[in-house]
């Protein structure tokens, strides 16, 4: 119990602090980051069982050591062009908070890069592209040597209704 509280505290702190480790991955030449604590596991591509009557970006479900986990393609989710899966294609299993409960969702990305330690001062606020544009799913931009890495608020990214309903599967 104490462990749980402590973990939670740490997580909250890191989320608010933004400082911490991020798992970076690439999607169409761009590098993105997810807070490492949201990541449960990284697995290589494996056969996906497609589920009828789901949005296009939901690829289906996989059986991960006895657990059925919904899989969605982040490229499709971000309305990018679909590409055939290669041997570099990976699934990042993330933990999502949905209606106060934690669900596991697999996210298909082009390739996983590395775990980076990013400091607060390296992170900039999300630029305002305009009031209308929804930028809630971006935590911020990390200025690194190789360029700018977009840090994703994965909870927001996957907090649409469809995903909420997927979590209940």
């Amino acid at each position: 119990m104490a462990d749980g509280v402590k973990q939670m505290d740490q997580a909250v702190k890191q989320m608010t602090m933004k400082t911490g480790k991020y798992l970076t991955f690439t999607l169409e030449d761009e590098t993105y980051g997810i807070g490492i604590l949201k990541v449960k596991e990284i697995i290589g591509m494996m056969p996906i069982t497609s589920v009828p009557q789901t949005p296009e970006f939901v690829k289906g479900v996989i059986n991960l050591r006895g657990k059925v986990i919904p899989i969605l393609d982040l490229r499709l989710k971000f309305s990018m062009e679909a590409v055939p899966y290669s041997e570099r294609t990976c699934i990042i299993v993330v933990e999502i908070l949905s209606d106060g409960a934690t669900v596991l969702i697999g996210v298909v990305v082009d390739a996983v890069s590395e775990v980076l330690n990013i400091r607060e001062d390296e992170i900039e606020e999300t630029p305002r592209f305009g009031t209308r544009l929804n930028t809630e799913h971006i935590l911020g931009m990390a200025k690194m040597e190789g360029g700018v890495k977009i840090l994703l608020n994965i909870d927001q990214v996957l907090s649409t209704d469809e995903i909420a309903s997927l979590g209940k599967v």
């Binding site: 798992l23 490492i36 990541v39 990284i42 041997e87 996983v112 775990v115």
Partner: protein, 781 residues
Amino acid sequence: MKKISLGMKISLGFAVLIVMFVLLAGKAVWDMNRERVQISILADEHIPEVGVATELLGAVNRLMYEMRGYGFTEEQGFYDAALKELAIVEVSLEKARSLAAVATDLKKLKNRIEVVAGALDAYKDLSRQTLDITAKLDENRGVLETSSESYMANAAAFLSGQNEKLKRVISERQEKIKIVNQFVENGSAARVFNYKFRALGDEALMKNAVSTIDSISGLLPYLRSITRDKANLKHIDGTETAAQNYKDAMATFMLEHRKGRMADNRVLENLQTQMDEAAAIYVENCDAFLAAQQNKLSMDVLNNQVKATMVNEIIELGHEIRVSVYKSQALRDPQILRNALHGFSSMATSFESLKSITYDSDDFEKITAVQSISEVYRDTMIQCLENWLLLQDLGNRRSEAGKILIIACKTTADEGMQATQQIAGDAVRTISHMSRLMVIGLTGALLLGIVAAFFIIRSITAPVKHIVEGLSDGAGQVASASTQVSSASQSMAEGSSEQAATIEETASSMEQMASVTKNNAQNADRADRLMKDVNQVVNEANGSMERLSRSMEGIAKASEETSRIIKSIDEIAFQTNLLALNAAVEAARAGESGAGFAVVADEVRNLAMRAAEAAKNTATLIQGTAAQINEGAQQVITANNAFGKVSESTTKVGALVSEISHASKEQSNGIEQVNKAIAEMDRVVQQNAANAEESASAAEEMSAQAQQLRGHVEKLVILITARKEDRFLGADKKRTDKMISSPQLIDVADTRPYDEKKTVHRQKEIRPDQVIPFDDDFEAF
């Protein structure tokens, strides 16, 4: 038409005629056959039908006649005859039945037979009934006869009985009157004695008077016995009583009178009065009796007369009725009988009135008996009338049944006759139609024959004329041609010897050519052998090139294997990277405690990255090697191809050289053969020369044959046209003769044969009808 042979034409003409005749004959036979069938039906069915119907009709007519006779006369002989006729009718009917069973064309006959049979049965039945009723009628007549006899006898008996009775009654009455007159006389005598006594007073007188009165008492019982009338009996009693009273009074008076003076006058007077009164009563009674007797007598007579009249009347009526009965039977009129029945009512009234005046029970019974006889008579008459009417009715019904029979027979006979007439009419029509058809057909066939003959003759004579013309032409031309042939043969003989000289020259030059050709062949052989050596070398080079390319392929395969290994190393590196990342994730999740682990994970990741890098570099190197190997292999292939081409060319050159050598050999062979052929040619040319001379002599022979042929043609012309026609022969003969007579014009023959041949050829082509078989047709014609 021109393509048909002569024989075919004539056969065709005859065939048309034969077909027409066959058709006509067939039609005739068919019609005759059909008529035969119809007539056989007529003979087998309709005529027997008519016969049977007529027979039946006759029998039925006779039967009806006999039955009618029986009906009129009621003689058994007629009935027996009728039965005989009936048997005949039944036999005829049976005949008709068997005919109907056999016949095919008589469909109505069966029904008719049923109708006739039904009517016949009815008729038979009616005849039997007639017989019965006739018997009854006979019986009735017998009854009538006997009852009329007894009626008359009874009536006559009654009448005579009445007369007898009247006589008896009259005699009785007379006797009575006589007796009563005696009484009256006695009474008068007694009174006279009485008065005398009173006057004289003599008692003897008085006694006389009493005895006189007494004398009547002896007659009284007899009178009583013969008197039945009660009034008369009373009168008799009154008379007796009066007589007694008178007697008593007289006796008393006598007694008083004896007293004399002592006698009381008053008593005497009283007695006198009594006596007078008794005498008066006596007389009165006697008078009354007499008067009654007189009266009765007259009444009896009158009564009797009336009765007699009535009985006579009854007898009369009976006679009348009897007469009517006989009359009705004689005239066969039942109306008379019916009218006669009315007489019975008046008879009944007569009987009633007779009965009313008849008091005698005996008589009454007799009358009743007569009346009952008359009633029996009447009943019998009524029965007789009924039977008679029944008989008449039966007669009518019988005649109706007979009519049905006769009508059925008549209709059958009529129909049979009609069918017969129809069939006969049909036959006549068919035969007349047939004869018309035959006349038309034969005329047509004749006309057709004439036309066919005309056309066939024409179609034969015209071509034959043409043929004769052609033949004569041909004969001339053959003659001239044979001349030309002989001259041509001579020139040919000359040409042949020239040819022989030229051929010898040719043979010598051919021998030189043969030696050159042999040299050529030897050189070509050598070149061929050299080329074969070259070919072997090139083949060896090809083998080593192939081996080289195979080892190059081995290298390429090995490099592929290597790149696969590198790929798996790369994969392992990737997996390791993933593991390192997962470890980093886990380490991060472990927080502070996982910091060290995170470093390790990072290191592992770095190692994995380096392994991947190294693998990538190796892969690049190997790819470079593979590319170079590929290039080498390409070069080898190119070299190989070049060698292949060289080898191909060498082979081709070898083949060409060997071909040349072969050809040279063949050439030398050919030249040898040419030499042989030239020798042969030489021989043949010499033979030709000899042959040409032979053919010249044969041509002369041929021209002689042509002359002969012309002679035959002339004969043929005479045969066909019946005269010699120079038109066909003149010109050609001249020409041929000229040709035959100038065989020395050999040099001209070189120019002439072509034209002549051409004309001959053309003429042949102009007349293809000359090919028609000549001999057979002509003879047939």
